[in-house]
């Protein structure tokens, strides 16, 4: 765990430049403004436009309005601080870290799930780069045996990153690939095994059951595994992501969210509603299409971005 924390701090430094343009460069619509009913309405609009959702937005706005009426809040900055406090407190630093197997009890297994096209495979390349940078030995398992070109896509990333892939037959049983990957991970003594799975809608019962089966195979093969079950969400998605989080959590016990595609203009605000409903923390954000485009999730920057001009 400690090792991974240092990976993050290294990452932080490496990404300082991106971060500067991404966060510090932001000018907030709230700064230097007097708080009044109009500004409160603007805050409400921003939250909704950021996909935070009607219900969660109302709760947050009610809090601001109450403080405003009681005279506890008078400037735009106060409202921003309030939101940062409210939202950031939802994600403690502790539960934003990747869960790893205890020393000497590896390999760690990371199961990566999500609906179609959200960025699972690319995010795996990012995690892989991150762990490799930390000197860890990584193995990938290509459990997407369904989508055209899916295995090949993962293989290309593996070649570029210098890691190996365990794969199966196109159209074959993904649980069998998971089994082979677990066996190989143990035999080769790798530190981390990351399993890619096919995109599936949370409404497709048979496919969700297939995912449960993959999880069970891992549980059986690797004690304590999967140590981390990541749900990849697309930052451009709206309220449906909440349903995704609920259903994937119910089926395979999601332990963390990888919020991909945050480099566009979408804010990914639905993760706030998700945290309220499911308690699942966001761990990483994806900010581009190359393996370096990953950052640890930063709740403060996230809130600032909602009010960026």
């Amino acid at each position: 765990m400690g090792v991974f924390r240092s990976a993050i701090s290294k990452l932080r430094k490496g990404l300082e430049r991106t971060r500067e343009s991404f966060v510090s460069g932001l000018r907030s619509v709230l700064l230097g403004k007097r708080l009044d009913e109009d500004l409160i309405r603007e805050i409400e609009a921003r939250l909704i436009r950021g996909d935070v959702g009607v219900r969660t937005t109302r709760r947050l706005i009610d809090g601001i309005r109450a403080d405003f009426k009681r005279g506890k809040m008078s400037r735009g900055e106060d409202a921003l601080d309030y939101l940062k406090r409210e939202i950031a407190s939802m994600w403690t630093e502790e539960d934003r870290r990747l869960r790893l197997a205890p020393e000497g009890q590896g390999p760690t297994v990371v199961l990566v799930t999500g609906v179609n096209g959200v960025g699972k495979t690319t995010s795996i390349a990012k995690l892989c780069a991150l762990l490799r940078g930390e000197g860890k030995r990584v193995l990938l398992g290509a459990c997407d045996t369904f989508r055209a070109g899916a295995t090949r896509q993962l293989e290309v990333w593996a070649e570029r990153l210098g890691v190996e892939v365990v794969k199966g037959q196109q159209g074959g049983d993904p649980a069998a690939v998971a089994f082979d990957a677990c066996t190989a991970a143990k035999a080769r003594g790798v530190d981390v095994l990351i399993l890619d799975t096919a995109g599936r809608l949370h409404t497709q019962d048979p496919l969700m059951r297939q995912l449960e089966k993959i999880r069970k195979v891992v549980e059986k093969q690797i004690p304590g595994g999967p140590h981390e079950t990541l749900l990849v969400l697309d930052a451009t998605s709206g309220q449906n992501a909440l349903r995704q989080a609920e259903e994937f959590t119910r089926a395979v016990g999601v332990t963390g969210i990888f919020l991909a595609k945050l480099d566009g203009t979408a804010k990914g605000g639905v993760v706030v509603a998700i945290r309220e409903a499911t308690d699942v923390p966001v761990k990483f954000v994806g900010v581009g299409e190359t393996p370096d485009d990953v950052e640890p999730f930063d709740p403060n920057a996230f809130v600032e971005a909602l009010f960026a001009e």
């Binding site: 436009r49 996909d51 096209g117 290309v156 497709q204 048979p206 998605s237 449906n240 581009g288």
Partner: protein, 512 residues
């Protein structure tokens, strides 16, 4: 949701009755429910506000305030305005006369001479462009138009291979159809940011190849990109200039949230999008993004993707989409799906039997199987009005249906023909044979009885009354199965989602 809307209107107006006239302010207040519903469905904040203003103006203009049933009238206006927003005025006319509208519309992808018709796909990363290329190819091939698919995504790892496989899948989905060709130059692929501009050359060569092959349509699968990436957006403009495509389709994930307006607007400004394809509509998203996109691009929504396979493409219907966004369900799609699965003769035969009240357990089983072939129960029920919202929290137990099948399979021929003879000892035997309990057997027999009765009554009814009757069946606690639905000839094809007011379906709520 739809029920909540009508209720919401009803409540506001009821509260006011007896207090004199309803004012514009009251109408506005009632619109708050609509606003929330649309925002929950992911329609853009600003688009929603504008839409609500239009509705208020319309309602005031039509003097809804003096209406005897202002709540219902308001719902009607909201729905009509939404249909108009989604599909233009044509959509309202189409709702009134679907047959004529279909004849007038012409092909979704134009024919040109000399060919090929060039179609350019564009959109954000992962929206479904490559998959949709395959679906369009299958769609065209089935209609006798040959296609060339061009792999113009040189960035994403294995994108060229993906499209090549997709092309093969399209051929399989359209057996005996026109040829589906593939043009790819895998050696031109490069890492991110290193092949910008090369795609233009590849597209040019694909056009030559398409001409040589005599393909009717050339479809360009471009790489996904962010609308704020100036360099990559510039590349698309170059492709557009070089090939002057006849259609530029923007492919959008139906689960997209508020940001849909920003990306759609940027793509439209750069490329003059002339058609939109919404993908992943097989999910349970309400799809409010459709409103946002339509509003900022003005381009018609051409197709809707409803699955990962090559045949999972449907034409767009504004009225159905409006119903879905408002949570009104999609009876028409359900009926169409049913009709694909059931042969006309089978339906006819069954209808006759049902009319005579002679539906046996075998028929019942056949119906159940037919229904299950339509897809997972949850998806089917999601298409029924009133069920969508309720379903959100219900877990449909497919195992329950397995048990029903098992019970019927454990009955003797005689019992299946005439379930009335099933007494306690028979019930015990069937229960142990099917691994269920006597209660379950008893329940099934009772349901069969109720349905036979109902279908007998329905035989002489008009399509619309049938819809109502089926709904009653649902409220009798049988919404989970509704056999009899698939076999009814003529059911619903004329009844639009609007004609069928929401019923009160209660499906079996199962523990999770």
């Amino acid at each position: 949701m739809f029920e909540r809307l009508s209720e919401g209107f009803g409540k506001v107006f009821r509260r006011l009755s007896g207090q004199g006239t309803i004012t514009e302010a009251n109408v506005r207040e009632a619109m708050d429910e609509v606003r929330t519903a649309l925002l929950d469905a992911d329609a853009n904040y600003d688009v929603v506000n504008e839409f609500c203003e239009t509705v208020v103006a319309d309602a005031v203009g039509r003097e809804v305030t003096k209406s005897l049933r202002p709540g219902q009238e308001m719902v009607g206006i909201v729905h009509a305005r939404l249909v108009e927003l989604l599909g233009g005025e044509e959509a309202l006319e189409a709702a009134a006369d679907p047959e004529r509208a279909r004849a007038a519309a012409g092909p979704a992808i134009m024919r040109v001479s000399p060919g090929p018709t060039v179609v350019m796909m564009c959109g954000l990363q992962g929206s479904g462009k490559t998959t949709t290329c395959g679906k369009l190819a299958a769609y065209l091939s089935k209609r006798g138009r040959s296609v060339m698919l061009c792999a113009a995504d040189l960035q994403r790892p294995a994108a060229v291979e993906q499209l090549e496989i997709v092309a093969a899948q399209a051929r399989q989905a359209a057996p005996g159809g026109a040829p589906v060709h593939f043009h790819g130059e895998p050696d031109k692929c490069a890492e991110y940011g290193k092949a910008v501009g090369v795609a233009v050359q590849v597209c040019r060569r694909a056009l030559d190849a398409a001409r040589k092959a005599g393909a009717d349509v050339l479809i360009l699968d471009t790489a996904g990109r962010l609308h704020v990436n100036d360099e990559l957006m510039g590349e698309l403009q170059q492709v557009r200039r070089a090939l002057t495509p006849h259609h530029v389709f923007l492919v959008v994930d139906a689960m997209t949230g508020q940001d849909a307006v920003n990306s759609a607007k940027a793509f439209h400004e750069r490329l003059e999008v002339d058609g939109v394809i919404l993908t992943k509509f097989d999910s349970d998203t309400r799809g409010g993004a459709a409103i946002s996109i339509r509003k900022v691009t003005g381009a018609p929504i051409r197709f809707v993707g409803v699955g990962e396979k090559a045949d999972a493409l449907e034409e767009f219907h504004a009225e159905r989409m409006a119903g879905r966004i408002l949570g009104m369900g999609d009876v028409v799609s359900l009926v169409e799906k049913a009709q694909e699965q059931v042969s006309a003769e089978d339906a006819e035969r069954l209808a006759e039997k049902m009319a005579r009240g002679e539906m046996t357990m075998d028929d019942f089983l056949a119906q159940l199987r037919m229904l299950r072939r339509l897809g997972p129960m949850r998806q089917i029920l999601g298409m029924l009005p009133g069920v969508g919202a309720a379903l959100k929290d219900a877990h449909i137990d497919e195992g329950q249906l397995d048990r029903v099948e098992a019970i019927i399979n454990s009955m003797t021929k005689q019992e299946r023909r005439d379930p009335k003879i099933i007494n306690t000892s028979r019930r015990r035997r069937i229960a142990s044979g099917s691994g269920t309990d006597q209660n379950a057997v008893g329940q099934l027999v009772k349901q069969h009885e109720a349905i036979s009765r109902m279908t007998k009554q329905m035989a002489g009814m008009s399509a619309r009354s049938k819809v109502a009757a089926v709904k009653e069946l649902g409220s009798a606690g049988m919404g989970g199965m509704v056999p009899g639905l698939t076999g009814m000839p003529g059911f619903g094809t004329k009844g639009s989602t609007r004609a069928s007011a929401p019923g009160k379906f209660k499906q079996r709520k199962k523990r999770r």
